[in-house]
């Protein structure tokens, strides 16, 4: 059935003004030809709409893809321990609605790196140093003092500052580790430059290692000295790997919940990852990268 278009009286009046009808009461043939050409052109430039058949066929392909990714996810999950942070439903700070609160994360990280009630000693700090310094075997010879929110002049605060000592080839190595973390905020005006100037005057007992901790591992914009970029996901993977040797210690579950929070609230990973997840793609990508990193670290003799 041909559908009759409905047009307004105003349109018909305008049409009559621009194109008067012939004596026979019809529109001129030339005008109708032009109208037909214009209609054909307009149709060819209209955005294409997929047909129902195309949608159904696409749905079939997408479902097949989803199933293949779910199978891959199950293979990855089989390699993880049952209490891995990526399958835990509880995030430490999300319970307080502070999942992306920078100070909560940096204070908790400083507490975990230092020697505190958790019972880890400085093992997580050693694991982190070994990850950042690559190919070094680090066993701290003195208890490292780890400070959170260290005040410096100008009213600024360095997120984490730790003085570390270890032996390497019979020599004592001293290093001041400085971590500045950013979750949602950008660097403040000259923020890292202020830190760098302060660190030049206060380098501690040896070298200074500056670490800029962000979601995507971006380069800092305000630094005077080189800062090493570190992604939150790599921090989580490193600490998680070290955690496998800490299961019997009092702080183990705190660490798990902290890491779940880093993965879920900071990195946006689809945690808790379930084997029947309807969105297996991000989980497969995340677990694929974490497992390959873990395998690479194992080859290099990571502690823990």
């Amino acid at each position: 059935m041909r559908v009759q278009p409905t047009v307004s009286a105003e349109f018909l009046a305008d049409l009559d003004a621009v194109c008067p009808k012939t004596d026979g009461g019809d529109l001129p043939f030339a005008f109708l030809n032009d109208l037909d050409a214009a209609y054909t052109h307009a149709q060819s430039t209209l955005p294409q709409e997929p047909s129902l058949k195309e949608l159904n066929s696409l749905a079939e392909d997408l479902l097949a893809w989803r199933k293949s990714q779910q199978r891959l996810l199950q293979q990855y999950l089989a390699k993880l321990p049952d209490d891995d942070p990526s399958v835990s439903p509880m995030s430490l700070f999300a319970t307080m609605d502070y999942g992306r609160l920078e100070t909560a994360h940096t204070r908790a990280l400083a507490w975990l790196l230092g020697k505190n009630e958790h019972g880890f000693g400085n093992q997580l700090l050693e694991a982190l140093l070994q990850h950042v310094l690559k190919d070094r075997r680090i066993r701290l010879t003195k208890e490292a003092k780890v400070e959170a929110e260290r005040s410096i002049p100008d009213g600024r605060r360095i997120d984490i500052l730790a003085d570390c000592h270890w032996e390497e080839q019979g020599q004592e190595v001293a290093l001041r580790l400085v971590i500045e973390a950013k979750i949602d905020a950008e660097e403040g005006h000259e923020q890292l430059a202020v830190y760098d100037r302060w660190l030049r005057k206060h380098p501690g007992a040896g070298k200074v290692l500056r670490v800029f901790l962000t979601l995507e591992g971006r380069e800092p914009k305000t630094a005077l000295n080189p800062w090493q970029s570190l992604r939150f996901v790599d921090l989580a993977s490193t600490l998680n790997h070290a955690a496998s040797g800490l299961k019997e210690l009092p702080g183990y579950h705190f660490l798990r919940y902290y890491l779940t929070g880093v993965l879920r609230d900071v990195c946006g990973a689809p945690v808790p990852i379930r084997k029947d997840s309807e969105n297996p793609y991000a989980a497969v990508e995340y677990l694929g990268s974490v497992l390959s990193m873990t395998e690479a670290e194992d080859e290099h003799g990571h502690p823990g």
């Binding site: 949608l55 066929s57 696409l58 609605d97 969105n279």
Partner: protein
């Protein structure tokens, strides 16, 4: 009865796959069957869904503008809706030019819903203040996609297993902003004071 477009509903039903294949800058096609044909169809469906999102958001604009004009000042922030999938407005109380905040509507895919929201400068404390002013009728918007200080109003869920009536959804979105009364708009404007133009 007009209903939400079929491509948008398809997009929402297969949002995990469409996100990977349509939104990603360089989609990972590993394991995708008939990858070339699938990508052509994904492009077609994604583009059509984007036009349907833009049409919906455009339909919400008059009602939202009318509400805020009756109690204050509103200015629409124009963007390509088919690209951004959200519409924002600047809102201020009468005679408070350097005190303003934003309201907006966006589409979230998980769960499928239109999300009306309010945002003020001042990061999380500003969000806390908005929630207090709204009498707890909002919550902090969570996740990496949201700017701190964003508060979502009650979401309008889109049912995928039954026809979603277009006009009814538009009305629900517009109604979601009704709790922002003149007094509350004034109070939210007071959260953050922009510097006066020099």
């Amino acid at each position: 009865m007009a209903i939400l477009g079929k491509c948008l509903l398809f997009y929402l039903k297969y949002s995990a796959e469409m996100k990977q294949l349509y939104q990603a800058e360089s989609p990972n096609l590993k394991g995708v069957p008939n990858a070339k044909q699938v990508m052509e169809k994904v492009q077609l469906v994604g583009d059509a869904a984007s036009r349907e999102v833009a049409k919906f958001l455009e339909s919400c604009v008059p009602g939202i503008e009318q509400h805020f004009r009756s109690i204050g000042v509103i200015r629409r922030l124009r963007t390509n809706l088919a690209e951004t999938w959200h519409q924002e407005f600047l809102v201020s109380a009468p005679r408070t030019k350097n005190r303003r905040f934003r309201v907006g509507v966006c589409l979230e895919v998980d769960p499928p819903s239109w999300v009306p929201y309010v945002w003020s400068r001042g990061r999380r404390p500003a969000g806390d203040a908005i929630i207090r002013i709204l009498g707890r009728k909002g919550e902090h918007a969570g996740g990496a996609d949201w700017t701190p200080g964003s508060v979502t109003l009650p979401r309008i869920e889109i049912q995928l297993d039954q026809p979603a009536e277009f006009d009814a959804l538009v009305s629900q979105v517009v109604r979601a902003f009704k709790p922002l009364t003149a007094a509350r708009v004034k109070a939210i404007c007071g959260i953050y004071r922009y510097p006066s133009p020099s």
